[in-house]
């Protein structure tokens, strides 16, 4: 068998045999396959990868992968992943979330994960809605989107996660679109390869509660400019971005955070000496 065949089925080998409960048409299917493509491309042994998530449709993703996984509680995935990566720097740790999980209940950990800059890749499937709980607005939802919990819309300006990521110190910032699986796979590869905290927002339509998002296909475009490492320029650009520019938008050069490990650990009985009378 030749290389090509290996690579195609290689991606599939990262899928588990569990069937996703997602609605047919959901953008998350494509994100799932983009992730497997990225893992295959990087040739990661599945047992060396852990995918950590919170709660939401999007957060169901770990079970659909053949890697190690953790389906945690709502909003805490980045914190759990931080502990895992710090304790096990040898693993490739990917965090997967939704816009509610990541930016609403999980907002604080998002801020601090960016700031801490641990070598994680954080993929947020943004559908601007709480899919799992039946269609309530999330922080990224448009202010006038009508729904049962906030009839007539929230009236709140949508949250711009990329700016927050930049402002709080993420080292790699990109936006993908589930309608562009190849581009998304590529972003994920780059995110994993870039040391430190990498944030990839993937626009991933919720066909059930946001059927209007099927039109995103026509709204997205490759970002008109190259990725920048200039934080001031990136700030200005992202602050006025309309949310549909795809690609890598910022790559920094901060050193990832790691807990220092002593080269010559001593035994507990040695440190007990300090208590001796």
């Amino acid at each position: 068998m030749n290389t090509q065949t290996v690579s195609a089925s290689a991606a599939r080998a990262y899928k588990s045999d569990v069937k996703p409960v997602w609605c047919p048409g959901c953008g998350d299917f494509t994100v799932l396959s983009a992730i497997t493509k990225a893992f295959a491309e990087l040739g990661l042994p599945p047992e060396q990868v852990a995918v950590v998530s919170g709660i939401g449709c999007s957060s169901r993703i770990p079970a659909y992968l053949n890697t190690y996984g953790f389906h945690g509680v709502h909003g805490r995935a980045t914190a759990l992943a931080t502990g895992l990566k710090l304790a096990r720097p040898d693993l490739t740790v990917v965090v997967a979330s939704g816009d509610g999980d990541g930016f609403s209940i999980g907002g604080n950990h998002f801020l601090h994960a960016c700031r801490r800059n641990v070598d994680l890749t954080y993929i947020v499937m943004d559908n601007r809605v709480y899919g799992m709980t039946k269609g309530q607005p999330s922080p990224t939802t448009e202010p006038d989107w009508d729904n049962a919990l906030t009839p007539g819309g929230t009236g709140l300006r949508a949250f711009n996660p990329l700016v927050i990521a930049l402002a709080s110190g993420a080292n790699f910032i990109a936006r993908g679109f589930s309608g562009d699986p190849v581009g998304t796979a590529r972003l994920i590869v780059e995110a994993i390869e870039t040391p430190g905290f990498s944030f990839v927002e993937v626009l991933s339509p919720c066909v059930t509660f946001r059927p209007d998002q099927r039109d995103w296909r026509n709204a997205v475009r490759p970002a008109p400019v190259q990725p920048t490492g200039d934080i001031g320029a990136a700030a200005r650009r992202l602050m006025t971005d309309d949310g549909f520019n795809l690609g890598v938008l910022y790559v920094g050069s901060r050193t990832p955070y790691q807990t220092h490990r002593t080269a010559a650990p001593v035994s507990p009985s040695e440190i007990e000496q300090q208590f001796a009378v």
Partner: protein, 580 residues
């Protein structure tokens, strides 16, 4: 009825002062000197609400016997000044035969002191300090106390040298001179609580606080990752561990909040590293959702709650045993987990170590309930034995096809694949799940997993560690207590025994799972039991009633903090109860 404890060769000293007077440092030196002199002892700090420079009291008890409680009265009170002493009045009980050293420079002692009837002797501490170049009144007081209590001069010198190490020879000499001035003065004072000279001891001794002890127990147990958010009175565990872990090859991370810290340790432990966090009531409340995740996903973690006065922000600097309920029942759903409590400062080493062992062996969260009294008091104790539990997390090395993380293994503990293990890939799951870990809402899966999670902790052999059953094990009157209350209770029972009355003392270390059979066995032959605890709503008493089959009528003596239990109070309560 508060029986005197002079016969045990022990003395209680309070040193008060404020605004940088240095009473806490002097207290630490006194304890150190006493340790060198072969005494046991305990050092409790108490301060006002100011962050710095507020009024403070160093409360020290020295004895030829191990010390686990504050005494009923202070035999010696040295006031560097009397600012705001009213605030401490209830914490500083004095008897008519107590000696109060007052500095005439501060004017007459306040009414609260005078009305105790204690003997007041004036010593010009400030003037004596001024007479020594760079001398400080606290050092004069220290020397005075050492002299009165009979601590040899060389122990004082050594203690000063240790604490002032790095401050330079000049500072040391100044302090020493001041202390010696105090020591000299003591000769002229009458005081009947002089400690006997120690005869030397076989076991080596430690000077340690409960918070340090808990940290050490954790490291002994194998903890190598800690994530936490500072909170009084748990912060010292973390600060000690920050340095300690660095030495043994582990690490501590300061998290953004308690929600993060609990999840970080779950992540680290999932990755195979035994992990711990420490907090107090408010932080524990924030962690319960995720502790439930650790229960459901079967990830071992240890959470130490150093309890303080509640509810809400409560009284952060004072002790109380009122987080028992939240520790036992604070998780939503049916979420079996381990709750253990150390019964003394020294026992913090063992209990924290054991908690790690239990968590790892059972793949379950273990909560350790310490409290401010245990945590922040410093004691001289016999060096705790290192039990070296054969802590083993059941893991898989090689995995065939179809690894089932939550397999219904006999005993309930199913082997865990640590990331990196080829073929062991699975998803840890907080939803109810199948043995493979796939989400399931089927009744068979739910019941099977609920049973599994319960049975593994019910079926475990906790051995004799589950409780300390001591004193008069044949008595048909039993006292049941837990945690830091055990110390004063034990002392009270010793006094009562001296008066000819005997009691069986049961101090469970293992609070959850409830072990009614073990308790029933421990109570065999008991006619009546008294449950003693420091909580306003008698949480422990109600828990025993609800979950244990007490074979005898039980009564409750409980009250909240912030005042510590003193043996005399308990002698009175127990005597009245047993007479009833």
């Amino acid at each position: 009825m508060s029986e005197d404890s002079a016969e045990f060769g022990n003395v209680s000293i309070a040193l008060t002062g404020s605004g940088g007077a240095g009473v806490i440092t002097a207290g630490a030196m006194l304890l150190d000197a006493a340790a060198r002199a072969g005494c046991y002892g305990m050092f409790v700090r108490s301060s006002g609400p100011q962050i710095r420079g507020g009024e403070a009291a160093a409360l020290i008890r020295l004895s030829m016997q191990p010390v686990e409680a504050q005494d009923d009265v202070f035999h010696l009170l040295v006031g560097l000044d009397w600012h705001n002493i009213e605030r401490f009045a209830v914490e500083l009980p004095l008897a008519a035969n107590s000696l109060v050293i007052a500095d005439p420079a501060n004017g007459p002692p306040p009414e609260v002191i005078i009305e105790t009837g204690a003997r007041i002797v004036e010593v010009p501490l400030k003037d004596m300090a001024k007479a020594v170049p760079n001398g400080r009144p606290n050092m004069v007081a220290l020397g005075l106390i050492a002299g009165l209590t009979g601590l040899p001069e060389e122990t004082l010198q050594a203690a000063l040298a240790k604490v002032l190490e790095g401050k330079g020879e000049k500072a040391l000499q100044a302090s020493l001179a001041a202390a010696l001035a105090g020591l000299a003065t003591s000769a002229g004072l009458e005081f009947d609580r002089r400690l006997p000279a120690a005869t030397g001891h076989e076991k080596s001794r430690w000077q340690i606080s409960g918070n340090q002890a808990a940290g050490l127990g954790a490291i002994r147990g194998g903890v190598r990752f800690v994530a936490a958010y500072p909170i009084t009175p748990a912060t010292e565990i973390l600060e000690w561990l920050a340095a300690g872990l660095a030495k043994v090859g582990g690490a501590l991370v300061q998290a953004e909040d308690e929600l993060a810290s609990i999840n970080m340790i779950i992540g680290a432990s999932y990755g195979g590293t035994p992990a711990l966090t420490a907090t107090s009531g408010p932080g524990l409340a924030l962690m319960t959702e995720s502790i439930g995740l650790a229960v459901a996903s079967e990830v071992p973690i240890v959470v130490i709650d150093v309890m303080r006065g509640g509810p809400s922000t409560g009284i952060p600097t004072k002790s109380e045993q009122s987080d028992l309920n939240i520790a036992l029942f604070g998780l939503h759903g049916d979420a079996p987990h381990i709750v253990v409590a150390p019964a003394s400062i020294g026992d913090c080493v063992f209990t924290a170590n054991w908690a790690v062992h239990l968590a790892e062996s059972l793949q379950v969260p273990a909560l350790v309930l310490s409290d401010q009294f245990l945590g922040q008091s410093r004691a001289i104790i016999d060096q705790p034995a290192d039990l070296a539990f054969a802590t083993q997390r059941l893991t898989v090395e090689t995995v065939g096809d179809g690894y089932r993380r939550y397999a219904l293994a006999a005993g309930g503990v199913s082997p865990m694949a640590i990331p990196g293990t080829p073929g062991g890939q699975y998803t840890a799951e907080g939803l109810e799940h199948t043995p493979r870990g796939m989400p399931s809402s089927q009744v068979t899966d739910h019941v099977a997993q609920l049973d599994k999670r319960r049975d593994k902790i019910l079926g475990f052999d906790y051995g004799d560690h589950w409780a300390q059953i001591t004193e008069d094990v044949d008595s048909d009157l039993a006292i049941i207590t837990w945690g830091s209350t055990a110390g004063p209770v034990r002392e009270a029972l010793n006094r009562l025994r001296a008066g000819g009355r005997t009691f069986r003392l049961i101090v469970p270390r293992l609070l959850a799972p409830a072990s009614p059979q073990r308790m029933a066995a421990a109570l065999r032959g008991v006619k009546r039991a008294l449950v003693i605890e420091q909580s306003h709503s008698a949480q422990f008493f109600h828990y025993l009633r609800g979950y244990f089959d007490l074979p005898c009528p039980a009564d409750s003596y409980h009250r909240p903090g912030p005042l510590p239990f003193r043996p005399g109070e308990l002698v009175e309560q127990i005597a009245n109860w047993s007479a009833a």
